[in-house]
């Protein structure tokens, strides 16, 4: 059923009309035109659509719009003003990306990890990031970038 929702994204409140089951992923991409959050699988198995919900990394393809009242959502567009979040800087510095499609989700997961675990062990990183798939195979560089961001943040 189509309803009106008020949703807070990157500290700004948006009014949207959408099917109550429409996942946040498609609200972001198709209604709000915020395409940094990527569609990868739609079943919560790849992590490409990762955003922060009240600071925690979640898969936006699994979050219906009707469940977001009062929640604070951060997308990659809101992670930093100028792309200068320590994780983003480390990603550029370590030259992580190949095709780059999964990297929004990887970066959002990494930022959430470092917020709660400022000095993660290798095992912490591997376990936390396991939900984010990269077919190009940039995992070792992702780990290096997270370690670098940890020491600089």
């Amino acid at each position: 059923m189509i309803k009106k929702y008020s949703v807070k994204i990157n500290k700004k409140v948006h009014q949207v009309e959408a099917d109550e089951n429409m996942p946040l992923l498609w609200v972001l991409r198709d209604i709000l035109g915020m395409e940094g959050t990527k569609y990868g699988c739609g079943v919560g198995s790849c992590g490409a659509c990762t955003v922060h919900l009240n600071g925690d990394a979640v898969r936006s393809c699994q979050l219906p719009i009707s469940a977001l009242a009062g929640m604070e959502i951060t997308t990659i567009e809101g992670l930093s003003a100028k792309g200068d979040h320590p994780v983003q800087k480390a990603w550029v510095d370590v030259d992580v990306a190949q095709c780059g499609y999964c990297q929004s989700g990887q970066i959002m997961s990494a930022a959430a990890l470092l917020k709660n675990t400022p000095n993660p062990t290798e095992e912490d990183i591997e376990n936390f990031m396991t939900g984010n798939i990269c077919r190009c195979g940039t995992y070792t560089r992702i780990k290096k970038a997270i370690q670098q961001a940890a020491t600089k943040s």
Binding site: I2, A18, D19, N21, M22, P23, W26, R29, D30, I31, G33, E35, G36, T37, K38, Y39, G40, C41, G42, V43, S45, C46, A48, T75, I76, E77, G83, Q88, K89, W91, V92, D93, D95, V96, A97, Q98, C99, G100, Y101, C102, Q103, S104, I107, E122, I125, E126, M129, T130, G131, N132, I133, C134, R135, C136, G137, T138, Y139, T140, R141, K143
Partner: protein, 746 residues
């Protein structure tokens, strides 16, 4: 041995035009001949050289824009190709801004992503572009200053006259340079003079990627754009009989639902016109979610499709069989075929006699399933059909290959078709098949609106164009001294053979036989990172490991012995590989991994090496097995791809190839039951994940002066066998069937 050098004509001339801002735009056109080479032949590439216009723009403020011609899918050509131009142009890399060139055969001679050919084919072309522009700017400065060109030097986008101390920017002379005739003789720098080539440079798009900017086809949008998806048969071997979309059309946001036919009935199929289903139901609506929901309400009736014929552009007819196929049956069919004589691809000496007289024969059969590409950005394309024109925004590896088919299907001239090339979220061969562009155009035409066609992940996995399912049976014959006297490879697949009959160990063994067979199928298959090689290497390098053990030889020493023979006294006239370069990577990986060193004695390690796409790769992997869990401690890769343009990008590519290969070797499989894929999304298709990636990857390049050869594909195939050989060390069990991990016991 085939020469792998390309030969460019020096009869080059440039095209120049002034820009309104007083700058210069420079391009180049030339006639060039490229000798057909082995990989080009494989891909059916006909090199066509046409007039080129714009690669470089220089503004009066000395800002420099370089257009990258090739579609980018993560191989980092948007950095490495402009580096070639910037090197000869003699500009500071920091002052260069790179932009993706759109599809324009008149402007760019080769917009092609595939076959690890990007740098190789551009190596002289794009440096020529840069050098010509530099010479013209020099001439313009010489005229303005009334000084001989011989007294002027260039560096970092500046022209300097050392005697007088005069120094000005390129931009100062750009407008004048644009009016000059084009130099006839263009001189390229010697490799020793490179200032940029060979230095590590970061991906020029990295900051945008890190900010999630809308770089991809999936991200494209414009006013009035609708979303489309397609509904297709649930199984290979089926087709649409009828459908009722009454309920689906009533769903919120739905604009229209109609069937489309991808290719005409009389279509002449070119090599990359593969599509899984020719008739699909298009669902067009306002949002992706609306369309996804409406798809579920379509009541479609599917039926088993009869056998059909497809006529190729070369008038070769292909028969696509009827029936609902299954992986278990494919494996049984391949095994049966392996016991019958195949088509002989190569024969040296008298292998039959040698096998008959052998004191011992080792025979092993290797099998692999279909693999789905699993490009992280699912298939998509934007199309807007207006009047008799269509505009695409498309992630496509080789636009030239789909253009004739778009023209044929839409019945409009190619001049009426424009393609904006967007960054691709992976490709690996999948986006060499541009049928989705035709689908998007047909939907836009029927819906009379700009449309973005999107495949769901389920569509992408279950209606793909897969790596074929393959089998290889090897036999090795030994005399009473355990000397290898004959070698036999029989390879086949669904529906193509993986065999490369003229590759190693052909040329190294006196008695050699290679045979192939094929099993026709209605499962659609196509290029997948290092086609055929990705399985050949897995099987061949595992078998060589096993026979070296029987012979009591070190696996690297054994390979080097064979290669030494191929180098000194090759068997046969046509051996595709250069034995010296092959030996080079094995020696380098032996040194860098500390192979055979006492401190590594306890490690469970495997080695493998392979030649493909004109390059050589060898890998050593160290791993541990606990129950059914594999931990990869380290991968050491040695690569010979000639001169490395951008070592940072090249390392990233080789690291990724190792991870991708380990993942596919351990987990990758697409299996079929009654025509339906058993895996449909990442919850069922097992991909390698962070915790399974190697803890460490070292990449080493052979340093030489050879013009660049392939890089994207060569480090992918050998790692499969390195994994199998290391698993043997860890478990005492040989692995013949991919994927390997399900065979480990928890």
């Amino acid at each position: 041995m085939k020469k792998t050098d390309s030969n460019y004509s020096r009869r080059s001339f440039l095209k120049v035009s002034s820009l309104s801002g007083g700058g210069m735009m420079l391009g180049i056109s030339w006639f060039a001949s490229a000798k057909p080479v082995e990989s080009l032949g494989e891909l059916n590439i006909e090199p066509v050289w046409q007039e080129v216009t714009s690669f470089i723009k220089i503004a009066s403020d000395n800002s420099i824009k370089i257009f990258s011609p090739n579609p980018e899918f993560g191989q980092n050509v948007m950095t490495s190709l402009p580096m070639l131009i910037a090197e000869e142009l003699d500009v500071d890399w920091k002052q260069v801004e790179v932009e993706q060139g759109n599809y324009d055969p008149k402007a760019f001679p080769r917009q092609f992503t595939g076959g690890s050919q990007g740098i190789r084919m551009a190596w002289k072309q794009l440096r020529t572009v840069g050098s010509a522009a530099r010479q013209m700017i020099l001439t313009a400065a010489s005229q303005a200053w009334n000084l001989p060109v011989s007294e002027l030097t260039t560096a970092n986008g500046m022209i300097t006259h050392a005697f007088s101390g005069k120094s000005e920017t390129y931009g100062t002379f750009a407008a004048a340079a644009a009016k000059l005739p084009v130099p006839k003789d263009i001189v390229l720098k010697g490799n020793q003079s490179f200032r940029l080539i060979g230095t590590p440079q970061k991906n020029v798009v990295a900051p945008k990627i890190a900010q999630g900017k809308p770089l991809f086809g999936m991200d494209y949008r414009e006013a009035g754009m609708l979303i489309a998806m397609t509904e297709r048969p649930p199984a290979f071997g089926m087709r649409l009989k009828s459908f009722d979309a009454t309920a689906a059309k009533k769903m919120p946001g739905i604009v229209d639902i109609f069937p489309i036919q991808v290719f005409n009935d009389d279509h002449k199929f070119a090599g990359f016109d593969t599509r899984s289903f020719n008739e699909v139901i298009a669902v067009v609506g306002k949002s992706t979610w609306d369309v996804m929901n409406a798809r579920k309400k379509i009541k479609a009736v599917w039926e088993v499709a009869p056998e059909r014929k497809e006529m190729g552009v070369n008038n070769r007819e292909t028969t696509v069989p009827s029936g609902l196929e299954s992986t278990t049956k494919h494996y049984a069919q391949m095994l049966e075929m392996s016991k019958k004589p195949g088509v002989i691809e190569r024969k040296d000496g008298d292998p039959e006699k040698a096998f008959a007289e052998a004191k011992h024969v080792i025979e092993r059969t290797y099998t692999a399933p279909f693999l789905a590409h699993n490009i992280m950005e699912p298939t998509n394309t934007f199309a807007h059909y207006v009047g008799d024109k269509v505009r695409f925004v498309a992630p496509i590896q080789i636009p030239d290959w789909i253009m004739p088919s778009i023209v044929a299907r839409l019945g409009i001239p190619k001049e009426n078709i424009s393609i904006e090339l967007v960054r691709m979220g992976g490709g690996f061969g999948r986006r060499a098949y541009g049928h989705y562009m035709i689908e998007a155009a047909l939907i836009s035409k029927q819906a009379n609106a700009p449309v973005k066609l999107i495949y769901s992940r389920e569509d992408d996995v279950s209606a793909g164009i897969y790596r074929p399912s393959y089998q290889l049976t090897y036999r090795a014959a030994f005399d009473e001294n355990k000397k290898l006297i004959a070698f036999h490879a029989k390879g086949g697949g669904v529906p193509e053979s993986p065999l490369h009959a003229n590759r190693f160990p052909a040329g190294a063994i006196d008695n050699y036989l290679a045979e192939s067979f094929v099993i026709p199928s209605n499962i659609t298959i196509g290029a997948f990172r290092a086609p055929r090689s990705n399985f050949n290497a897995a099987a061949e390098q595992s078998f060589l490991d096993e026979i070296s053990e029987y012979m009591g030889k070190d696996p690297i020493a054994f390979r080097l012995e064979l290669l030494q023979r191929a180098k000194d006294n090759p068997v046969g006239k046509t051996n595709d590989y250069d034995a010296s370069r092959y030996m080079g990577v094995l020696e380098l990986v032996r040194e860098k991994s500390g192979w055979g060193k006492p401190e590594n004695a306890g490690k469970k390690r495997g080695v493998s090496a392979y030649f493909c796409h004109n390059s050589y790769a060898a890998q050593v992997i160290d791993l541990q097995v606990k129950g059914d869990q594999v931990t990869v401690d380290q991968v050491t890769t040695a690569l010979d791809c000639g001169v490395v343009v951008n070592p940072e990008g090249a390392k990233n590519m080789a690291e990724g190839a190792a991870i991708d290969g380990i993942g596919n070797a351990l987990f990758g499989q697409l299996t079929i039951t009654d025509g339906r894929t058993d895996q449909r999304n990442f919850d069922t298709y097992r991909m390698i994940r962070h915790n399974e990636a190697p803890k460490k990857i070292d990449v080493h390049f052979v340093k030489n002066e050879i013009d660049p050869t392939g890089l994207g594909e060569p480090p992918f195939p050998p790692i499969f066998a390195a994994v199998a050989n290391a698993l043997y060390k860890a478990t005492g069990k040989r692995f013949y069937q991919q994927p390997f991990q399900p065979q480990l016991k928890a």
